[in-house]
Symmetry: C2
Subunit: 100 residues, 2 copies
Amino acid sequence: MIPVFEALADETRRALLERLRLDGPLPLSALAAGMPMTRQGVTKHLELLRAARLVRVERRGRERIHALDPQPLREATEWLAPYAARWETRIERLKQHLEE
Amino acid sequence: MIPVFEALADETRRALLERLRLDGPLPLSALAAGMPMTRQGVTKHLELLRAARLVRVERRGRERIHALDPQPLREATEWLAPYAARWETRIERLKQHLEE
DNA sequence: TTGACATGCAACCTAGAGGTTGCATACTGG
DNA sequence: CCAGTATGCAACCTCTAGGTTGCATGTCAA
């Protein structure tokens, strides 16, 4: 059980999550392409993201499709919420943004 | 320039931020008391939080008062916002499904 | 069937995070 | 002034995160 903030601490992992959010489910090879590291390096990051329940993996033929699961990010947002009260009336704008 | 998620990745640092949020500005000695580590250990974490602009330090006599600065947490919340849209729409879909 | 592609598995390397101990420095109150 | 409190500074230790290389396995396409 990897805490979500630990998973978010790494730039590579954040990039992977962004990629999955924008482009939808992808196989490892697609995720590894364009990354400044080896495929095996990306694999390790994906394993950690999976341990943090942020990605779900599903076999499809010889590929393994990785899909985003944003649910654990909710904990993170909820942890941050009380601090948001500190930076004051900006909350309203954020609320509106979230409701869109 | 420490990215904020890296600062949030450690349980001890999150505890320090919580403490500062709830109890207001505190000297190092007060923050170190009750922590399961040495004062110097706490110092290192506070230095990192300071590098991440999450705490401001101010000398007062022989004490150094540490105060929370929640501003950088806003970046974190904003980074998370688009993902929140995902679980919101999921909930909406679920609602609609249940209403059928 | 046979390459070629997608991935898994394991061993290995290295820098830095997270912690310690020991001592130095600075301020304060009586 | 002196003793105690608050903190800084530096060296050191250990473990693991983040990356590599090399090879094995499984699957598709012709």
